[in-house]
Structure formats: C-alpha cells, structure tokens
Amino acid sequence: MRWYIPYGNPTYFLWLGLALIPLMIGLLYGHRFRGYQTLISLLFLVLTFGGPNWKTGISLIGYLIYQVLLVAAYSHYRQPKGSANRGWVFVLAVILAIVPLVIVKITPAVEGGRQSIIGFLGISYITFKVVQTIMETRDGMIKTFHPVLFGQFLLFFPTISSGPIDRYRRFLADYQKVPEQAAYLDMVQKGVRYIFQGFVYKFILAYFFGSILMPQIEMQAILAHGLSWSIVGYMYVYSMDLFFDFAGYSLFAVGISYLMGIKTPMNFNQPFKSKNIKDFWNRWHMTLSFWFRDYIFMRLVFFCMKHKIFKSRTTTANVCYVINMLIMGFWHGETWFYITYGLYHGFAMVINDAWLRFKKKHQAVIPHNKLTEALAIFITFNVVCFSFLIFSGFLNTLFFAPKPF
C-alpha cells in the first residue's frame, strides 16, 4: 500500500478517478450515494493520514472530536429560541476553537523548529471552518447543528489539505441536493477543464519555475554574498512558482468538488492583472482573504464604529486593515518574515486607500487612460512580488540564518 499527499502524483489521480465514477453516475441520474461518498472520503483520508503519517491521523481524529463537541456545546447554548447571547461565551468558544491551531503554530517557534504532536496537514483550514461556523451560529444564521453534516463539511476530502475554504451553509445546500442533469453535466465539464488547467499549472509551469529555475537562481543569489540582481530574479521566479503551484492545487480541489456535485468556491482570479492592492486581495487566495474580510475585518469595523472607538472613518479603516493583515501574518507562522509580510500588506492597504481618496479629490487633474492603468498593474505586480520575497523567507536564509560554511 502507498500513501499520498493530495494531488501529489499521477497515481493519486488514477485512484481518485476510479473512486469517483460510481458517485458521478449516481449524480447524473439524480442520486447522491451518501454512504458511498462517505466511504471514499474515508479511504482518501486514510491514504493521506495513514501509514507513516498515522500519528497525524490520530491528531486529526482527536481534533475532530474536540471541535464537534465544542460547536455542539455552543449551538446548544445559542440555538434554542430566546436563548442567551453573551459576548464572553462567544469569545470563549472562539478562543477554544483556535487553541489547537495556536499551539501548533507556536510550538516550532519556541522549540527550535520541532513540530507539535497535535498538528496534522490542513489544521489551519479546518480551523477556519470551525470558527466561521461558531460566528454564524452566534449571528443566528446557522439554526441547527447536525454533528454528521458538520463532520462532512470539516472533512470534505478534496479541500482538506489547503482549502479553498468553503462556507457551511453554502456547502450544506450543495451536499443536500442533487443538481439537475444539465447543470451537473455543465459542472462535470468545468470540473474536467479545471483539473487539466491544474495539470498545466502545477506539473508544467510550477515545475519549470520551482524545480528548474529556482535552484539555479537561488545558488547565484547565495554565491553573490549580499545584495545582487539575483535576488530580484529570485523574487519573480518565487512569485510565479507560488502562484502556479497554489493555483494549480486549488484548481484540482475545485475541479474534483465539481465532479462530486459541490461548487467549492474559486481561489484565484488572474491576480497578476490587479490594478491595486485591494483589487489584488479580491483575486488572490480569495477564499482566505474573503474569510478575513467577513469574519475579522468587517466585524472589527462593526465593533469599532458601533462603540465609536475612533473618530474618523479613515482611522477606523486603517487600524482595522493593519490588524486584519497582521493576524493573517501570524496565521502563516510565527517567524519575522510572515509577520512582516502581514504588516506590509496592512500598510499597503492603508496607502492604497489614501491614494484612492487623493485621486477622487483631484479627479479633474489626474489622468486616467490605458497607460496609467498599465502603470498601476506594473506597480501592483511589483509591490506584490516584493511581499512574496519577504514571505519566502529567502532574505532570512541569505542574511540572518547561520552560515553552513
């Protein structure tokens, strides 16, 4: 028996294709074979979390039981008609939901890189799903709790390792119905196209940038000892690799979901043609940035405005941008380069907003044409690539890590 990281190699796709055929035939004729779907989901989870990774499998099971009990308890508290809605109970529930993730993120930082024993592949992504469920339960939008359906949502195997991050109500609506035949055929067609596009992205383009170009340019930059044009080259190569690798993975996850009759949301929408940094976050890792927008930024703004914490709207927005992006930085990991990456994007949003206000005020004198748009795209692209250079940790390797010789 072999063990696989999701979408890691061609054999994984072969098994996946075979396993999906009965489910697809069912969907085509108006049935969702729930039992069969659960069975293959478990099988593919075992392929990822079993064998040499069995310890992470145990962590996953423990984590799942913990979170299901937590959300069950909060739902029990909040869902009955006329139930209490105390702020501290909600805050406590959210804290308890993120405690395992916080431990997993902090352990390597304080124990010299050693990974926590409670970690497993995809823990951050499942945590997002748990937290949003608690928040929507508090808001009264999720009115019933069903442990098995909630488990299906958390463990939906095509997206388990790295998203895209779906929403509970949206997922459930898809899971509980069978699309019309014509609509399903259209989904299959799209799903197959996404998967093939994913092959091109991940196994050709990301391979070219990441496995062929990157090692060469990395070596050049290291041998240059200090600042060199190779670092600039590395910045672009890394950015391309990051995009094609992650967008390729996301296309697989969305494509497979579509074949299963679930419209998992898209993660990327041509991010490198963004005209400004806000536009960029509406196109890059969209399910993550929308998650931060809906569950952190907007709630923070709501709280600040309701309690009139800051006088002006601009200050409120700016403070919330920075906090929002800083939390995203911490989420990536407790290293100086992830946290700097978060702060950098927070301030980029602040500057972007200031520029947009300035532009609006001086509309009459600031030109707007194809050329200025091209310039905006060029500037945004470089601002973003520089942020990825920070994110890559390569500057850390070059300037701060202990030299091997």
Binding site: M298, V301, M305, R313
Partner: protein
C-alpha cells in the same frame, strides 16, 4: 413602504455620494461604490434609522448588491 425606499436611498447617497433613484439596479460592488467599510456603515445605518438589525454574516454580497435588493431586504425584515 415609500418611506423605507427614500431612507435607504438617503443612506446610500450619504455613503457613496450618488443618487440611485433612477438606478435601482446598479451593482454597488461591481462599480466599486461600496466596499467592506461602506457595507458595515450601511448595516449600522439600517440599524439606527430603520431598526433593521442584520448581522454581518447575514450579508451575502450577491443578495445585497443593488439598491433595489437592499430595499427589498429591509422591507422583508420589518
């Protein structure tokens, strides 16, 4: 009912600087007139002026993206 309409249009005018009386189906997000900040302000104003409390997670951008849809939502909620 017309009261709701004029109040919603008034709130939108304050937020975006535009009068939507003749453009009830304008998509506020596509035209970038409304962003997350504006959305939150809209929710707070709806709460203050019309007594409609819509939590942030109620807010699905596809269901609240035009003045006409917002008016309908508010009328439903009242």
């Amino acid at each position: 009912m017309d009261d709701v309409k004029s109040k919603v249009l008034g709130i939108l005018k304050d937020l975006t600087g535009e009068d939507f009386s003749d453009n009830l189906d304008e998509n506020l997000y596509d035209s970038a007139l409304l962003d997350s900040m504006g959305t939150v302000q809209l929710l707070l104003e709806l709460q203050d002026q019309l007594g409609v409390s819509a939590p942030v997670s109620e807010f699905d951008r596809n269901e609240w993206n035009t003045p006409a849809k917002i008016i309908a939502k508010v009328e439903d909620a009242q």
